[in-house]
Symmetry: C2
Subunit: 334 residues, 2 copies
């Protein structure tokens, strides 16, 4: 297996990416090869004296920034690490691509260069949410701000396949994010989607209200990309503000410092439990190739874990399974 | 001023409601009268030996539960505390209605019995969000799961009027909840709404992403009711899960208990800062009368603070100001 990794993508690239690859080596089989895609000089500087025959560098002179217009990167920066890396997958020179760079650019370029899996209408982005009752996937979290019921049905199928492949959850249950439990609750889109999911999915458990997203029975949560992205970003912003505020106040007083010291193991275990770095990125679901999108502020640990995700998607042949799941429900489309 | 208060509404009614009224008495002027609406016997039992000439009971034999179909309550339970209380406002026998009961029922009944303020297309529900940078209003949080750009413009006008009346924020800035900062981000609805707000509102500061809802510059945040409700409920659910988890772990070990004891003032001050009970309910914006909707689990403190909100809405004539704000932007509707 060969994995193409965007060495230039993310807030801490290329350092964190190179570190992540190095940490990953010990945990993966010898026949798993790493292709670091990016500016050779910068990558070599990070590698220093380190060398492994399992790591090669594939030069890509350009770097996509957060300011590049995502949908045009394939034309404006054809020699970027993102475009080059995804093309390696398209040509069959790599089995998967992993990037913590500009999410929109990875999405657009993957869609253009890899195409869609047969039958998939709209590729979607899932996010792994660690909860006290195990991990869940929420999908879509931003690829489709406008979605139709049939698209959301496909998000459910693809995310369920992903969860069963990568996290070994067999036959995960599906819930629809909504503002009430009854089938007739929500906007027109969500009322129609409820009906469709109810008809098509044996493992549909109904609507899930915002307050129960983290403690509901459903393991796959589906919604349009506007709602999913807003929830995800809100959660992220909030946890930062909250943690920052507690930290500030602790620093103001010796008594608090002492108390915080005693409680540290609790804070650490909760941090670990809710830390996305533990879980790595998630694949752009529905494109015809494995393209893993990581959080922009991924550190080495997140990169290492994203490599594990990519490996699992390839080994267990996620693409083929999505093709089959989608085909089974093709008739649902009207 | 006369306030009609739903004595039967909310998880802790009638006890918490009667307590809240009693606590409120000392803080309000003598000419503010309280009409407790509900089952006389139950209310008298709560009042016990207590009596004040400022408190009267208005009997209403029926009680709306969470299982009643909200939109039909006005017909199915005409003698309920909700319908009776709102009709007191409609007839001019009370200046405002306050309820912690079935939110949908209070919304529907208010809309039927009070009507809309001239020019308002869709009444909306705002929620007060305490943040470290002062309070914000997010609107709509559930009255309109489907909304159009013009509706969202009116949500902004009404919520800004509310914030300036009740919280004395002069000329509050308005932000549009969205999944990116650029004007062309988001679903079609949000792209069009951005354009409209930009054209109509001098105090529009642009899109606000989920991660910045709590630390953005904007004091009024607008969105459709599906998105607003989901965010609000998610936040509420999450804080409960988080706090519960920390509490569980603290209980497991003496060292943690000691640490938590030392840190207690921090936890308490943060709890106080984010506690909706400190702020009370918010009016259903756009109906032609003051109808305050409180959280279902309101305790006495929340009821007391909701009375303060109602008083302020009446004194400062919120209804008239909304009528003027809406009239100023009437031409925006196409």
């Amino acid at each position: 297996m060969k994995l193409a990794i965007d060495a230039m993508g993310g807030d801490f690239a290329p350092g964190a990416v190179v570190d992540g690859v190095q940490q990953s080596l010990a945990e993966t089989p010898d026949d798993l090869k790493y292709i670091l895609v990016g500016q050779t000089e910068a990558i070599e500087r990070e590698l220093g004296n380190y060398s492994s025959e399992r790591i090669t560098i594939h030069h890509a002179g350009e770097v996509v920034t957060m300011h590049d217009r995502a949908s045009r990167v394939i034309k404006t920066k054809p020699d970027s690490s993102i475009v080059t890396g995804i093309k390696l997958v398209a040509k069959g020179d790599a089995d998967a691509f992993i990037s913590a760079g500009n999410t929109g650019a990875v999405m657009s370029t993957s869609l253009f260069a890899l195409g869609r899996i047969y039958g998939v209408r709209r590729p979607a982005l899932g996010a792994y949410i660690p909860t006290l009752k195990g991990g869940k996937i929420i999908c879509d979290v931003g690829a489709n701000p406008d979605a139709k019921p049939y698209h959301i049905l496909q998000f459910a199928l693809m995310a369920a396949d992903y969860l069963s492949h990568v996290e070994d959850v067999s036959d995960p249950s599906v819930g629809l994010v909504n503002i009430g439990e009854e089938p007739n609750k929500g906007s027109e889109l969500y009322q129609e989607t409820h009906q469709l999911l109810n008809k098509e999915l044996a493992n549909f458990v109904g609507n899930v209200e915002g307050r129960h997203l983290l403690d509901c029975e459903a393991q796959v949560l589906v919604c349009d990309g506007f709602v999913g992205n807003t929830i995800l970003k809100f959660a992220e912003g909030w946890i930062n503000i909250f943690a920052g505020e507690i930290k500030n106040r602790i620093g103001s007083n010796t008594r608090y410092k002492l108390g915080a010291g005693l409680m540290r193991p609790i804070f650490q275990s909760i941090k670990k439990q809710f830390d996305y770095e533990e879980y790595g990125g998630t694949p752009l679901l529905g494109v015809n190739g494995v393209s893993i999108i990581c959080h922009g502020s991924s550190g080495a640990k997140a990169i290492k874990n994203s490599i594990r995700v990519a490996q699992s998607c390839v080994e267990k042949n996620l693409i083929d399974d999505i093709k089959h799941s989608v085909a089974e429900h093709m008739g649902a489309h009207n």
